[in-house]
Symmetry: C2
Subunit: 277 residues, 2 copies
């Protein structure tokens, strides 16, 4: 029997049975496609689970919808990373969207996702979507005052993604947003990656006036507790209210109006992490 283990830290890991494995070495990373009885097909980059057919909807819905809803009328959206296409799929559920730019550094991730994960990547062919195979950090330098929403759907802050967690990077994000723009980033697990989580928050807080942190249950990510950090200069994200009909029109399986209303109800120990930088 074949078992794949992702080492969440050097002392704990998730172990998943696989019945089939495909391995591709891209210019940037090792890509594994596993067939797993528990989670369906699973995409693994450099040993880290990125997405699985069974639970991908949670991460992608929770990454995309709060920021999209807090913006009054999101038309231009940028997704950085996210070559599997799941975040783009969720963004396109919002009727106001006119163009979605996907900036992914590794073209192979897109090719693999379109081939093996059609339920996730299927919307990358939508005419509103334009794909850029580029470094997200450099891409932003050319786009000033352009986007309504920017979504950082990056892998963990090691290797190519490390720069995506720096103050300099968030400054570029801010410059690429329109005045009333909103950004959101996946910001790791407060339980097992406390340092990355706190660092992202403190860097984002230096750049944006209004910052909020929320969580979602992602069973295949370290500890199962995953964080997202949302920020804007113009929109007071922590008290944003949204017309319920906009939420109800979204076809979702995790996100709903109750989840939105309670977005920032954090456990006390997570609140405390944000008080002590």
């Amino acid at each position: 029997m074949l078992w794949f283990t992702e080492h969440w830290t050097e002392n704990v890991g998730l172990t998943v049975r696989a019945t089939e494995v495909k391995r591709i070495q891209s210019k940037y990373q090792e890509i594994l496609i596993l067939d797993t009885p528990e989670f369906g097909k699973m995409l693994v980059l450099d040993g880290l689970i990125q997405t699985t057919e069974k639970d991908e909807f949670i991460y992608h819905e929770m990454l995309a919808h709060p920021a999209m809803l807090m913006h009054k009328k999101p038309e231009r959206v940028l997704v950085i990373g996210g070559g599997d296409g799941g975040t783009v799929r969720e963004v396109l559920k919002h009727e106001t969207v006119k163009e979605v730019h996907l900036c992914e550094i590794d073209e192979e991730v897109i090719i693999v996702s379109e081939k093996y994960f059609p339920s996730i990547a299927g919307k990358l062919k939508d005419p509103r979507v334009k794909i850029f195979i580029e470094d997200g950090n450099r891409f932003l330098e050319e786009k000033k005052d352009y986007y309504d929403v920017i979504i950082m759907d990056s892998s963990d802050p090691v290797g190519a993604s490390e720069v995506l967690f720096s103050e300099d990077f968030y400054k570029k994000v801010k410059q690429s947003l329109r005045k009333d723009g909103i950004m959101v980033a996946q910001t790791e697990s407060p339980v097992l990656q406390e340092n990355y989580f706190k660092k992202a928050y403190s860097q984002i807080t230096k750049v944006f006036r209004n910052v909020g942190v929320y969580l979602a249950y992602v069973p295949t990510y370290p500890s199962g507790m995953w964080s997202f950090t949302i920020a804007s200069d113009y929109v007071d994200v922590s008290s944003a209210s949204v017309n319920k009909s906009r939420i109800d029109r979204l076809e979702t399986r995790y996100f709903c109006d109750k989840i939105f209303d309670c977005l920032f109800a954090l456990p006390k120990f997570v609140q405390d992490m944000l008080k002590k930088p």
Copy 2:
């Protein structure tokens, strides 16, 4: 290097590094005490992680405080299972409590917890606590109309604990509660133990008029998403409001007033599970 794996299902497990292992065979089960660099000391019963020093506060706070707070003045409390003492410790934080009965079938769990987990079991010596080494199902038959709050802190519904998830058992719980009494039970993971989760809900719904389900992040339990089911004939649990000062007086690390206010904000797919029995 020594690794312990809990098989959450036959296809996925949590793998934890251990530096020391003690093994005790009780009349009912195999008890392991592991020293783990990631989670501190860990108590394992028949291969299933029950509690760890690092994250036990989450489960115990979330099991005890909502029911305790929804009762106007909880004085007599029964904990079934919970031999590690963590739930009793949380119950005793409520000033109105006059007596806590702990009914645990396996005395060895209490002995081991008092010896190796003093931060969890330390309050079992409190004069308000009375310990009964008995089968919870039989114990309830002798106590009619007695408790304000009954807390089912059972292990998974296999072996000795299976009966604690049956309609007959919940009927006994109801008879042992006073008229305005409240019960709460740990009811497994909606993600990986959907059948147990739905079964518990449907059985409890047959017996009690008002039933609510809530979740908490427990990193060392299957999938990290853990469920609790709370029920009462008298108290409308899903709309219960509580004086904020009662919450603020509790010394907690996870539970807080925001968590209480948002207790029943469930992801859509979990709501859907409760609609289709």
